[in-house]
């Protein structure tokens, strides 16, 4: 590898585009009112992220076996990174578009919002595109700090400030635990590069007790970030208080990056220590699926319900991580592929839901209760049909993305059981199914309110959905159906399952 700077910069072009666009937006904001319309800033932000996605496609070479390491091994731009980076970029684009109308209605349409989303996306992209633990931490902090600010973006709302503060405190706590885990890895192996760690583990140089401690700390730290039980306490409050489109971004892009890091750390670095994490992942998955789904049933606020729903989905994703620890190579491959399919499938449906939530929220923060959704089909048939698609997808009903995603993850867990002959994975699958059944109940309730209840008499005005909102709902609904049917109908190169397959680390 020549390692020339230009080559390295080209490889991280998607992140570079995000970062540059973010800075340009910040500078541009100072010229607002001096002959610069704010629409230009939004366009600039979009341009940066769309270009990033474009570069992702250009860099995508699934068959290539060349080394992807650039910047002397600090960044690893392999298909895995590009795939998850693509998911993050997609989430960023959709969040930006749906935020325009939302912020404008609240009179908060400022450049810094878009810049912060872009910076956060940059950090997330960096997280998945490296095997270097410090760079992972760097990306995580860049993303998190931007998100702390975004969560508190509605400065005049107490809940938004509360959200920001809670996110900051728990986030900082989780980051330090994670960092401590990374330090333990360094202590045990003398390196912070995951490939080096793997080599040290294989040669037996690493101290077992220290490595296990490191593994536990890393799982706890990242467990906070992706919000699994018992590290999920912050999620409902933060999700409820943050601006709705920001919540959508947190629930999708941040999770995608978090799980990306989890897969990378588990599959690349820890090798023979993985079976020891099996029990922990098993119980975390079970606790997450059961607790989150049960508590979600009791929610009357749609945003809170979606928060618990996102915790529950992290639980299903943890089922796939559990498979990685079981010494079943066939099933592990399936699990990674399944998880890689799960993340975009979950992301498009969730972003669609949060776009609709943000549209229905009014200036005083009302419109977020389930009752406010009564009879919505009469007022907004298009949005309601979109919501039906998203909800069915989250509930795992065919022919949507969510169904196929669940099918893959559960399939991997069952294959793991058949391959290993152990009943533990099968028990996990049964719990997962039980959770899905409970989940369907509260998802269904949203649809029942929208379609089967009479609309409420109130003073809320009918608003025509803004172009951006309609666009995002349409795109996410089409993607949700396409991911459910698409691999199916044979779109050739666009076969996302094939991408996920190619993206396995």
């Amino acid at each position: 590898m020549t390692g020339s700077v230009v080559e390295s910069l080209m490889a991280v072009a998607p992140a570079l585009n995000l970062a540059l666009a973010g800075m340009a937006v910040v500078f541009g904001e100072t010229f607002i009112g001096k002959g610069l319309d704010r629409r230009w800033l939004v366009s600039l932000a979009l341009l940066g992220s769309v270009l990033g996605l474009l570069f992702t496609f250009l860099l995508w070479e699934p068959a290539s076996t060349a080394s992807y390491s650039v910047f002397q091994g600090l960044a690893t731009v392999d298909t895995f990174a590009l795939f998850l980076g693509g998911v993050i970029l997609l989430c960023t684009i959709l969040t930006l578009i749906s935020s325009v109308d939302y912020l404008r209605r609240f009179g908060l349409d400022r450049g810094e919002f878009y810049a912060l989303v872009l910076f956060s996306a940059t950090g997330l992209w960096v997280m998945v595109a490296t095997t270097h633990l410090f760079i992972i931490f760097l990306g995580l902090e860049v993303a998190s700090i931007a998100l702390y600010v975004l969560a508190g973006y509605f400065r005049k709302r107490d809940r938004s400030l509360e959200s920001s503060l809670k996110y900051l405190l728990t986030g900082a706590f989780a980051s330090s635990i994670l960092l401590y885990g990374f330090a333990m890895v360094y202590l045990a192996t003398g390196t912070v590069d995951l490939n080096g760690v793997a080599a040290a583990v294989e040669s037996g140089e690493a101290s077992t007790s220290v490595m296990l401690l490191a593994l536990a700390l890393i799982l706890v730290g990242l467990g906070f970030k992706v919000a699994v039980v018992p590290f999920h306490m912050w999620a409902p409050d933060v999700y409820e208080g943050a601006p709705s489109t920001v919540t959508g971004f947190m629930a999708t892009a941040v999770k995608a990056a978090g799980f990306g890091v989890l897969i990378r750390v588990l599959t690349v670095g820890f090798g023979s220590y993985l079976p020891d994490a099996g029990t922990m992942l098993f119980w975390v998955a079970i606790a997450t699926i059961l607790a989150a789904n049960l508590v979600a049933v009791a929610q009357s606020n749609v945003k809170r319900m979606m928060a618990y729903s996102s915790v529950a989905h992290a639980g299903y994703a943890f089922m796939a991580l559990f498979v990685l620890t079981q010494n079943t190579p066939g099933a592990s491959g399936e699990a990674v592929r399944g998880l890689l399919f799960y993340l975009p499938a979950y992301a498009v449906s969730t972003l669609g839901v949060f776009t609709i939530i943000s549209f229905l929220e009014d200036r005083r923060g009302r419109g977020l209760e389930l009752e406010d959704y009564a009879g919505l089909y009469r007022r907004y048939p298009g949005l309601s049909m979109g919501m039906a698609v998203f909800i069915l997808s989250l509930g795992g009903i065919p022919p949507t993305a969510g169904f196929l995603a669940k099918f893959h993850v559960f399939g991997a867990v069952i294959s793991c059981g058949v391959e290993s002959g152990s009943s533990q994975p099968l028990a996990l699958a049964v719990v997962g199914i039980l959770g899905s059944l409970i989940g369907l109940y509260y998802y269904l309730r949203v649809l029942i309110f929208m379609y089967m209840h009479e609309p409420q008499e109130d003073d809320r005005q009918f608003r025509l959905p803004a172009l951006g909102v309609s666009f995002v709902v349409l795109v996410t609904a089409v993607l949700t159906l396409w991911l459910g049917l698409g691999p199916a109908v044979g779109f050739g190169a666009a076969d996302i399952l094939g991408w996920a397959e190619a993206a396995r680390p």
Partner: protein, 525 residues
């Protein structure tokens, strides 16, 4: 008669999309167009009925397209003797249901007709699917339009009924998903199918799996739970009366006429032939549940004062008989069950239509509100009486053939069960005749009933085809019954050949000469 099976299956869905794109103000026109689409579907489905080769148990009119190559899922459709009758029944009942809803549904007509068409497509797909994945997708999809039909156009307690219906159904289908995934995983680990994972969901290739008795037990549970809930069998039947009472007439017709049969069909297609050892283990238990269902349903029906609820409980009783015939697991019983499903679809479909007729006129279904209606509505009374007879199994009408065959089949299996089931039949005659007597005969006491108009031209159009079919199927059952012969024979061979007298290691060959190893003992991991 080269009609593509997938075309007929998806025709109603395409029609529904077309309807949804039309402007709402067209109202009645939309209704007519929807009727026309379903009528064309029905006509095309008859091509399969008449073009069906009775001499073979193989799938006919087969079509297969690669769907999800990475999983080996093929969009594989086909019909055999087990599905053909139900397929045609579905296609024939839907236009009648749509026609019956003209005038009685005035709210969101466009969506209503579209939902009926969408539901038809998914039901046809469920029956035609020859790939477990495709089957499961259609199976889950059926839930959505049916839930909307009950929940949006239903009666006062519609939301409760909808939630109950959905949760019961899903509680059954999610374990089935796990079982399907397990089958798929075993299929790959056993390396059957030379071309890798291709066809890993095809039920014909799944039949070649080697499964231990323990595995079969759990897999059978996973599959059968879903089917007996849909059927519905005794302890899990409680969703049905609620769903029926709240559903609009057309919804009830489709629910009773076809949707319930999916349970019986699923048992015959998947649960019994794929897991004969598991099925054998549960058979005594299920037979008892069937008989409890038959008698319990009949007794509860006897106590009802709401006509629709009464018919709903009669469905529980009749479907118990269907399950009884299936688990008798001999040719007589299974052929009887299939025939009984057809007959029940016709007669109960007609009964719900008839209840719809009277409900539209009086907006009540309380038995006590009626009496002596025969004087003002003689034709209505005549059709109702005939349908009742068909339902209770009077010789010469469709119900008799099925019940008789089932009872014969069960008699060979267990005389006690047959006797108890026959008792259920007697109770059935009692409550149905009580219904007829209460509504139609005696003095015309209620003044509100005096000016009731008799059947309208539309209602006659809806009912005549059903009446003719009920008589035809009763007098000359052979064209229907013969269709099932070869497939049922193969099915019974498959179910019984694999059940060894001793739970021991033994080997059999199936009709294609493939070795099937049945391992009964080595499963105590």
């Amino acid at each position: 008669m080269d009609v593509s099976l997938s075309l007929v299956t998806f025709l109603p869905l395409l029609g529904a999309v077309l309807l949804l794109l039309m402007p709402e103000r067209l109202g009645g026109q939309i209704h007519r167009l929807g009727f026309l689409i379903s009528l064309v579907t029905a006509a095309l489905s008859l091509c399969f009925f008449f073009g069906f080769d009775e001499g073979t148990a193989r799938l006919q009119f087969e079509e297969s397209y690669s769907w999800i190559p990475s999983l080996g899922v093929n969009f594989h459709l086909g019909l055999d003797g087990i599905s053909i009758l139900l397929y045609v029944l579905t296609a024939v009942l839907t236009p009648l249901a749509i026609l019956a809803s003209v005038g009685s549904v005035n709210r969101r007509i466009k969506e209503f007709v579209s939902m009926l068409l969408v539901l038809e497509s998914f039901m046809l797909g469920t029956l035609a699917a020859a790939d477990v994945f495709v089957f499961y997708v259609f199976w889950e999809l059926m839930l959505i339009p049916m839930a909307l039909l009950i929940g949006v156009w239903g009666g006062p307690r519609r939301i409760y009924a909808t939630v109950k219906f959905v949760l019961f159904t899903v509680a059954g289908s999610l374990p089935m998903l796990l079982a399907i995934l397990y089958l798929y995983a075993s299929y790959r680990s056993q390396g059957i199918g030379a071309e890798g994972v291709s066809g890993g969901f095809d039920f014909q290739s799944l039949a070649h799996l080697t499964l231990t008795e323990k595995e079969q037990t759990f897999l059978f549970l996973g599959f059968a739970l879903s089917f007996v809930i849909k059927l519905p069998l005794f302890p899990v039947h409680t969703w049905l009366p609620d769903a029926h009472t709240e559903a609009p007439t057309a919804g009830s017709v489709v629910l009773a006429g076809v949707l319930l049969k999916m349970g019986g069909y699923g048992l015959l297609r998947y649960a019994l032939p794929l897991f004969p050892l598991g099925a054998a283990k549960f058979t005594p238990f299920i037979l008892v549940l069937c008989v409890i269902g038959i008698i319990h349903g009949a007794l509860v029906a006897l106590a009802q004062t709401d006509i629709k609820k009464l018919i709903a409980y009669s469905s529980v009783s009749h479907m118990g008989l269907v399950a009884l015939g299936i688990f008798a697991a001999n040719e007589m019983g299974i052929r009887g069950s299939i025939y009984q499903m057809l007959a029940h679809g016709l007669s109960t479909g007609a009964l719900f239509l008839l209840v719809g007729v009277i409900y539209e006129r009086r907006h009540t279904r309380e038995l006590s509100e009626f009496g002596g209606i025969a004087k003002v509505m003689p034709w209505f009374a005549a059709v109702f009486l005939l349908t009742t007879f068909a339902s209770v199994g009077l010789p010469g009408l469709c119900g008799f053939v099925g019940e008789f065959l089932v009872l014969l089949g069960v008699f060979a299996k267990s005389k006690v069960m047959a006797a108890l089931a026959a008792l259920g039949m007697i109770l059935g005659a009692w409550y149905m005749l009580k219904l007829v007597k209460g509504v139609f005969y005696g003095e015309l006491t209620n003044k509100e009933n005096e000016g009731l108009p008799d059947l309208s031209a539309k209602e006659i159009t809806v009912l005549v085809p059903l009446v003719l079919l009920m008589i035809l199927a009763g007098v000359y059952p052979m064209p229907f019954l013969n269709k099932t012969d070869a497939s049922v024979e193969a099915l019974v061979r498959r179910i019984n050949m694999e059940v060894p007298a001793e739970p021991d290691v033994s080997a059999f060959s199936d009709d294609q000469g493939n070795k099937i190893i049945v391992t009964g003992a080595k499963d105590d991991r």
